[in-house]
């Protein structure tokens, strides 16, 4: 690792916290950066944003980091609400005071859809946040579809996660050298983990396994609301 020991903070923006696919992706990047000498820390945004103490601790952690790694699932084409609340708070507090050194930010988005285009707005929002909150934008990676990983450690996720692992390894190396996420890492992250036809088949079948009650399965397409005049 060039320069001084870097402090890398992973900010997980998933309601499933450390059990989430977002955490799997972020933790893999962190472990790759640790191999290169980085000191790392992890914050669960959903937990920290629930209280004043948590929000203050979050800001303290942000102010001590050299590199922030945001990772979140794609919710309604952008970031989950608590992540937006965290970004609003961080931006507002940094307008009052911020560390004198240049901090950088990378964003990882974990999507349920195989097309990388579906993540474009989420990454654009993270980039705009970096600009407004005065972080250096180190780039963004969108992984699709996260359901294949389903919260497993990326190292244990087998062949289907090979491109995600390689992408994060490349990104970690570039970040350690002080550079942005290379286009090669973006291209690997963008590659579907499985072919689209297989994704559709498996994803639609998988719900049958998740719905334990046959009575519920019969009502999966129920419409509980009706328009009235």
């Amino acid at each position: 690792m060039t320069g001084h020991l870097q402090r890398v903070l992973l900010l997980i923006g998933s309601p499933r916290g450390s059990q989430s696919t977002s955490a799997s992706l972020g933790s893999y990047l962190l472990s790759e950066m640790e191999k290169q000498g980085a000191e790392t820390g992890v914050i669960n945004l959903y937990q920290y944003m629930k209280s004043d103490v948590g929000r203050n601790d979050l800001m303290d952690a942000v102010n001590q980091a050299d590199i922030l790694v945001f990772v979140s699932p794609l919710y309604i084409d952008c970031l989950p609400a608590p992540v937006i609340a965290a970004l609003e708070m961080i931006r507002d507090r940094r307008m009052v005071a911020q560390p004198p050194w240049r901090q950088r930010l990378i964003a990882l988005v974990n999507s349920g859809f195989p097309e990388p285009e579906q993540n474009t707005t989420a990454l654009a929002i993270y980039k705009q946040f970096a600009k407004e909150a005065e972080f250096g934008w180190a780039g963004g990676l969108a992984f699709a579809p996260g359901a294949v990983i389903n919260g497993k450690p990326l190292g244990d996720a087998g062949f289907v996660a090979r491109n995600a692992r390689k992408s994060l390894e490349i990104a970690a190396g570039a970040l350690a050298r002080g550079g942005p996420v290379p286009s090669g890492a973006v291209k690997l992250a963008d590659k579907p983990l499985v072919p689209i036809w297989m994704f559709l088949l498996n994803a639609n079948r998988s719900w049958k396994h998740q719905v334990k009650d046959p009575a519920v399965w019969k009502e999966m397409e129920k419409r509980p609301f009706r328009k009235t005049n």
């Binding site: 084409d77 952008c78 989950p80 719900w207 998740q210 999966m220 397409e221 609301f225 009706r226 009235t228």
Partner: protein, 191 residues
């Protein structure tokens, strides 16, 4: 015809308040029934991703807060309006906490729609969608992100028509009224 307005403004935001007032006036003048939700005053907790609205009691959120009613209000409307300060090019936390609660309105199953993979429809008909972004002054870069986000939401929410537009803190009430009217006309709500 019913309209639901999801107001994601912050306390003290006069421009958003004016935009909501002129929006309500114009819709009511044209015979619409309007239900406005001032989201910051409501008990709406973030979606916890439990997916029970798909796999336990399909179509219904299991939350016990006011967020539970958002999907029903949305799907029984003919027009949905998102009103929000433009926040990093997207929506405010206040609006987004409500939108994240709307996944019961689609099915967990996937299909190809408009050349991409999306969740399948749960209902036959979905409301038209307009989004009004509030900015202090025009900023082209964030307006582009906002428009792209609304375009994507319109696909995932199966909106039969949609439009995005902006009102600015520098504008007076008459200018905001004209702006809102223009946005409404884009989805055929007004001539």
């Amino acid at each position: 015809m019913r309209a639901v307005v999801l107001d994601g403004s912050r306390q003290g935001d006069q421009t958003s308040r004016t935009a909501r007032e002129v929006l309500e006036e114009q819709l009511k003048e044209n015979g619409w029934k309007v239900r406005s939700l001032l989201l910051r005053d409501m008990d709406i907790r973030p979606c916890d991703g439990c997916l029970r609205c798909w796999i336990k009691h399909p179509g219904l959120c299991s939350g016990t807060d006011q967020g539970r009613m958002i999907p029903g209000l949305y799907i029984t409307s003919d027009l949905a309006v998102f009103l929000s300060p433009v926040t990093f090019g997207g929506y405010s936390y206040q609006l987004k906490k409500a939108l994240d609660r709307m996944i019961p309105n689609v099915l967990p199953f996937f299909e190809k729609f408009k050349g991409e993979i999306h969740h399948r429809k749960r209902y036959d008909a979905y409301p038209k969608l307009i989004a009004i972004g509030v900015l202090q002054k025009p900023v082209q870069s964030v307006e582009m992100i906002f428009r792209a986000l609304v375009d994507r939401n319109a696909i995932n929410f199966y909106a039969p028509a949609h439009a995005a537009g902006f009102v600015y803190g520098t504008e007076d009430r008459d200018t905001i009224r004209l702006g809102v009217r223009t946005i409404l006309s884009r989805v055929g709500v007004m001539a």
